[in-house]
Amino acid sequence: MTAAADTMTVTPQDAQKYEEKEFGFWLYLMSDAIIFACLFATYLVMVGNAAGGPTGKELFSLERAAAETALLLFSSTTFGVAAVALSQGDRSKVLLWLAVTFALGAGFIFLEFGEFAGMIAEGAGPDRSGFLSAFFTLVGTHGLHVSVGLLWILVMIGQVLFKGLTAPVASRVMRLGLFWHFLDIIWVVIFSVVYLPGLL
């Protein structure tokens, strides 16, 4: 079916297949959005349940949250550049910008990991209070998604390297893009619902 697919030309049947996959992926994202909605609701219900333990005001650092936000937002931009390169069929640029996106995303995970480790070390782990359980689960679920996204970027770098910019690979990169931008949006909400009110 795709034996001669060095170029990005697609047959109508294949185009239909990719369209189905993209629509299915949107549905998955919406389903995932409900997971986050439930986690946000849970967080808002439990944000006051610090049970005598530390609250967001004592725990959150605006500098770190701002740095995390910057990394993730920039990674979305760089992914956008990769997508443009993809539409131009420029393989080395796609690889370059996917790698930059990976580095930014990994930086985000590194900062978040440090934040979590620091909190746990000072006795403010998720088993301290209902508030912290909700915080770690909400932010951690997002972090888990970003980590999966990072693995996915690696896989796609591998596919672009070994398969080239074939139609199936391109369609996967596009869906990865949807996923990556989706996580960005979730992070914006996390920043506005968790960090900002926690610090103000």
């Binding site: 697919a5 189905e20 849970t42």
Partner: protein
């Protein structure tokens, strides 16, 4: 850290004779299945034609097989509860409390998650793509993952009989009781992982079905020409996609509480157990409609075919289905009116609950009016439909009663509630699926099920149902709480004895289903469905051969109207052979779905027993499997036109020998498709 986590030799059920025999039956069952496969030398067939298959029809059949096995297991639980309560007046009965609690927990869990859900996914898989004139679902491979994840969940419930114990926290697993403080042990963890793993499968099924309906319809199959079953699947899929995440969050958070000491739902340290109940029912109420809407779809198909008349009020049925789908998200709080919300909140949800009865009532009238002036043929699927109509209305009435918060305060957690929801789910869901099973069995296997035994199963089920559950209404009014292991009130016992007799008659109904299957397989040559349309059907699934070819339709049909197949036969357009067939691309079989399901099962087991290295290993296996599949750009093979022609030629040869209409000999037959009177 122990190599096997908290798994020790003491986890085997030698502490009690009943538990040990349950384990024995489970192990023997598994061994005898393997023995049968070996006896027939069918391992190759089972593995390469079925386990690795990603054909939607085979996946559908496997789903239904899972459902029927789990139906038996869930029924055994029910029979044990009924017999325990029948004798446990002023004595302990034969089941100790801990065991009794496991039984009612596994009964509910199995019947909802591992009987009803697979049955539903099975029927949808088998029929929906054929109804819309498609060659497969949109994502055949993901379909296989869904199947095997559901099976993995069912496997976790089954293995909890053999290794360790099952949950005692009921099928809803309310904290704080289900938290680790009050219920350490592995039971609740088995429940959680079974539900979580199969829930992921269900979410993927929902996505798959919805994309299929939106994107894969045959030309001319507009949304308002979809058969009603497909319409109900459409709404159910939306509910699956948007409701299951709430269950995932509720169960995931409870799992974190239990496994890592989080405080979502604990009594201390700022936990809020009411949040669990909200999240759980935010999924739980839509789930009721996820289960029942496709059954409504089956009834809509069956009632039109066996009344030999166009479905009455097609548009109103579609609108009612959509209304139910939306309203189903606005009533969840009626499951816990007594939790202490304000009167305003309770009355809002009480009002919404009574409102949801309106579209359901519309449907009932549509079905009645379809039968009105129809020529009704009382085949088993139609019997189940009629039994449903009468019984379901009674259940609906008791539901409207319970929707009133003041009454609910009196009835909450009594057997009145048990009677109510069984009165909805047995006729509404199970009768629908059994009707669908008997209706579409010829499509799956090419021969019809024995009608006498089908009718016998119906009569046992419905008589047994009334005997088993009407006494529970009375008991609820007498104040009997649900889930009683023993009791001291003499007035309750006669009702419970009647209920136990009812359960026994239902057991006969299940026996009839088994006999029906055996007799039908034995006599299959006398009941062959040669035309692919055994019932004088109306929708497109009857246009394919029985069983359908791997590609369903050699030529994708052109749809002109509702009741597409009836319409085509009237115009005699589909049976003409094309001059030339085209190559058809078909997905290749793959074991990766089964590998992911298997790894999911072991992962769940490892998490239950805290065997961390094994859990990580399973995740790695799943990751590698997905990457392998995602890097494979050659997942289809092309069936050449010559082979399509061979299959189709054989089919037309068979058609030439077959009767023109398989229903023509039936005494109630009202005739071939003809132009319908324009009333």
């Amino acid at each position: 850290m122990d190599f096997f986590g908290r798994l020790t030799i003491d986890s085997l059920p030698f502490y009690s004779a009943i538990a040990a025999s349950g384990a024995g039956v489970t192990v023997l069952g598994a061994l005898s299945v393997m023995a049968v496969i070996t006896y027939f030398g069918a391992w190759r067939l089972v593995l390469f034609d079925w386990v690795s298959s990603i054909d939607h029809k085979k996946i559908g059949i496997m789903y239904v097989m899972v459902a029927l096995v789990m139906l038996m297991r869930g029924f055994i639980d029910a029979a044990m509860m009924r017999s325990q309560q029948a004798i446990a007046y002023n004595n302990e009965g034969y089941l100790p409390p801990d065991h009794f609690d496991q039984i009612f927990s596994s009964h509910g869990t199995i019947m909802i998650f591992f009987m009803a859900m697979p049955f539903l996914s099975g029927l949808i898989n088998l029929i929906m793509p054929q109804q819309i004139g498609s060659r497969d679902v949109a994502f055949p491979f993901m379909n296989s993952i869904s199947l095997w994840l559901t099976t993995a969940g069912a496997g976790l419930v089954l293995i909890s009989l053999v290794i360790g114990k099952f949950s005692t926290a009921g099928w809803t697993g309310y904290p704080p009781y289900s938290g680790s403080q009050f219920t350490p042990g592995v039971g609740v963890d088995y429940w959680l992982w079974a539900v979580l793993i199969s829930g992921i499968g269900s979410t993927m099924s929902g996505i798959n079905f919805l994309v299929t309906i939106v994107k894969c319809r045959a030309p001319g199959m507009t949304m308002f020409r979809l058969p009603l079953f497909t319409w109900t699947v459409f709404v159910t899929s939306i509910l699956m996609i948007f409701a299951f995440p709430a269950l995932t969050v509720a169960c995931g958070a409870l799992m974190l509480d239990r496994t890592l000491g989080f405080h979502f739902f604990t009594n201390e340290a700022g936990g809020n157990m009411m949040n669990y109940i909200n999240l759980f029912w935010l999924w739980g109420h839509p789930e009721v409609y996820i289960l029942i809407l496709p059954a409504f779809g089956v009834f809509s198909e069956v009632v039109a075919v066996f009344s030999q008349k166009r479905l009455f009020g097609y548009i109103s049925l579609v609108l009612a289905t959509m209304a139910i789908g939306i309203l189903s998200f606005t009533v969840w709080l009626h499951h816990f009116f007594t939790m202490g919300s304000s009167a305003r909140v309770n009355s809002f949800f009480g009002t919404m609950t009574t409102i949801i009865a309106v579209p359901t009532g519309v449907k009932v009238f549509d079905w009645l009016l379809t039968m009105y002036r129809g020529r009704i043929i009382f085949k088993p699927p139609m019997l189940y439909t009629l039994g449903f109509l009468v019984t379901f209305v009674i259940g609906g009435l008791s539901g409207v009663l319970l929707a009133l918060p003041p009454i609910d305060y009196l009835m909450h957690n009594t057997t009145f509630l048990i009677a109510h929801f069984h009165n909805m789910i047995i006729p509404g869901v199970l009768f629908g699926y059994l009707a669908g099973y008997m209706f579409w069995f010829p499509k799956a296997f090419g021969f019809k099920l024995n009608e006498w035994w089908g009718a016998a199963s119906f009569w046992c089920w419905i008589i047994g149902f009334y005997l088993a559950f009407m006494p529970l209404y009375v008991l609820g009014l007498l104040g009997m709480p649900r889930r009683m292991e023993h009791y001291e009130i003499a007035a309750w016992q006669p009702h419970l004895i009647v209920a136990a007799i009812g359960a026994f008659i239902i057991f006969l109904g299940i026996v009839c289903l088994g006999v029906q299957l055996a007799v039908s397989i034995r006599d299959r040559n006398k009941a062959l469905d040669l035309t692919g349309d055994p019932w004088n059907g109306r929708s497109l699934e009857w246009a394919t051969s029985s069983p359908a070819a791997p590609y369903n339709f050699a030529v994708v049909p052109q749809v002109q109207s509702i009741d597409a197949w009836w319409d085509m036969r009237r115009a005699a357009s589909l049976m003409s052979r094309p001059a030339e067939y085209e190559d058809i691309s078909i997905p290749k079989n793959t074991f990766i779905g089964a590998v992911i399901g298997g790894a999911g099962f072991v992962f769940g087991f490892a998490m239950v027993w805290y065997i961390w290295w094994l859990a990580i290993l399973c995740l790695a296996v799943i990751f590698v499997a997905i990457v392998i599949r995602a890097s494979d750009d050659d997942t289809d093979y092309v069936m050449p036109a010559s082979e399509v022609k061979k299959i189709e030629d054989a089919r037309f040869a068979q058609l030439a020998k077959a009767p023109k209409n398989e229903m023509a000999d039936d005494p109630g037959f009202a005739g071939q498709p003809m132009p319908e009177p324009s009333t």
